[in-house]
Symmetry: C2
Subunit: 358 residues, 2 copies
């Protein structure tokens, strides 16, 4: 037994419960960072309960709560409202959790729970305008068709947003030009640019305008920054900046350590932040002792990751490569992981082990 | 420290190395068994090294070795050879590994590393006939474009097959009616009906007819049944029978335990074998004490899994559900896992924990 806070473990391997989650959910294989738009099936995936079986012919989106004119829309009616498309990056709020010590016991992400798709659908704002929120409306609640038990509470997955953030949302029915895959929310999901992935409610079926703050599980208990005292702190909202690298060379099957030639190589990767555009990426080839600026690609869009590249002449021997992002709002990745009880928003700088020559 | 054989661990959690593999590779979420053809992105995935970046415009498939007329074909030329399509089920040879004790340290699969796609492409036999194998030809070697280090050996992923089995192979360029996704072998992979997944070489670029048995890593060292003495035994070939169930009810997020109403429910699932058609599926609702026959769906095809259903009146309380497949060749799933050093072909009967009422 260890003295780690309840819900965490110290100095021991991944449990069978964590492994069950890791077998279902998956990250972006790091070499897939080469694609500016992540092919479907490679985008990270986190599903709280089960993928529901939704019949698109009878599916309806209900808009209600504190509105003047409740709406009920079929998919055909939603598609008739015009289509906006945008490359949007999002990342699981628990990304990096398994690298914390003591380790919060939940989906055991390493660093790569991220992806960028071209999401397309109906803008949410005109739909809210048509429904007519009351003068006292402050939040919008989004409810999915996925049901389960979490923290002892039976629930449909649902999350609320301040109304100003909700108005920036997209009701996405397409991912990369095709209907949503079942696991990404078919037939409809919310996508909110800049926020961690938990806000992008999949299998979205109901939108409820609220005049009081929502106190349901996923806002009040889940997705909060807790200290070791288990008191819920600030809510998890926008993505902290992070950069990841396409690991150079080739991997060892079991250790994933990289083998490369002692020769010039161009390191590439992508960086993102939910607060502002990425303004700087720096690369360290000495484990984090020193960093030097990488070249940035042109932005892919205001809410998508940004490519970077860095020329390196790999010397013989073992090295640890790291990349660090800074956004235009002045947020920079820390070298050491920020710890909290549930393991959210750990955006510590990555470590890639390589060995050149052999 | 434990006294488990080298390469295995006893009584301890998943290591960070295993977790790295589990984060990249993923299983079929069990509720996705509802789809007769697995949607892309839900099919299980096991990638030994990295997903290579292949340019389809310059890609060529080379056919050589002990043949009279070596061939070199572009994708366009391959597509011009006629297209055959078939639903084919395959499963990772290491499926079930993480349930073994002591546990072989590798990709830590639980039970669900399986999927069924409609694979389409060019039949291999006419192409081999055109090349004209020599009179002494006995095996065919398939080489992919994915490179890495495994067991200390730098290698391109490659596997050989007896020539009679190779002649049943499909050179697949489509999965579910679309070009292969990058992670499933774009632009071309081998699919061999009935075999475990390791034979379905992805990113296939070279076919070499051999007059001597291939002694490379993936045939001689990997994918063999070893005892605890670490002496390579029989090769891993065709899939043992296995059945899996769509877990009824709804899950607990963390434990994945199922919650359902104490009421009638129809249990459904799918079963497969690489040896012969599935002939019988039995279901136990008492943890394996007793089994009763399920109803079988019509076969989806000669090389695809077969659906089954079983009506159950769930009593209140906790139960363990299990399903057991038997094929027409007389192979039946064991209740207890068959152990071998690398954890292959563990087709022990599944266990699904449910609680009805609360």
């Amino acid at each position: 037994m260890d003295a780690a806070p309840a819900g965490t473990v110290a100095g021991q391997g991944i449990t069978e419960e964590e492994l069950r989650l890791a077998a279902r959910n998956h990250a972006l294989p790091l070499e897939a960072l080469r694609h500016p738009i992540t092919p479907a099936g490679l985008h990270y995936l986190l599903i709280h309960y089960d993928i529901p079986d939704v019949d698109p012919a009878t599916f309806r989106l209900e808009v209600g709560g504190a509105v003047e004119r409740p709406l009920s829309l079929s998919l055909t009616e939603l598609r008739a409202r015009g289509r906006v498309a945008e490359p949007i990056t999002f990342e699981c709020a628990g990304n990096g959790r398994a690298l914390l010590e003591p380790r919060p016991v939940s989906q055991p992400w390493l660093t790569e729970a991220v992806g960028t798709a071209e999401w397309a659908g109906a803008a949410l704002r005109p739909l809210l305008d048509e429904a007519g929120p009351s003068a006292g409306a402050i939040e919008v609640l989004f409810t999915g068709l996925d049901r389960g038990v979490e923290g002892g509470v039976p629930q449909w997955y649902e999350r609320s947003l301040p109304i100003a953030d909700a108005e920036l949302g997209l009701l996405a029915y397409e991912m990369n030009g095709a209907p949503l895959p079942p696991q990404h929310g078919f037939p409809l999901r919310l996508v909110v640019p800049g926020w961690y992935g938990m806000q992008n409610v999949k299998w979205l079926t109901r939108i409820t305008v609220l005049e009081e703050p929502f106190t349901g599980f996923q806002n009040a208990v889940g997705y909060r920054l807790y200290g070791a005292d288990a008191v819920p702190g600030e809510p998890v909202t926008r993505m902290q900046p992070r950069s990841l690298m396409v690991p150079p060379g080739v991997p060892d099957f079991m250790t994933r350590e990289r083998h490369l030639e002692p020769a010039p190589v161009t390191l590439t990767g992508r960086a993102w932040s939910g607060h502002a555009q990425i303004e700087r990426v720096e690369v360290s080839t000495d484990g984090g002792e020193t960093f030097a600026a990488a070249d940035l690609d042109a932005p892919l869009g205001p809410h998508a990751w940004r490519g970077w590249r860095f020329d390196w002449d790999a010397p013989p021997g073992e090295q640890v490569l790291r990349s660090r992002a800074t956004d235009a709002a002045g947020n920079t990745q820390p070298l050491e992981p920020p710890w909290n009880l549930k393991g959210y928003a750990n955006n510590a700088v990555e470590r890639i082990q390589v060995v050149a020559g052999s």
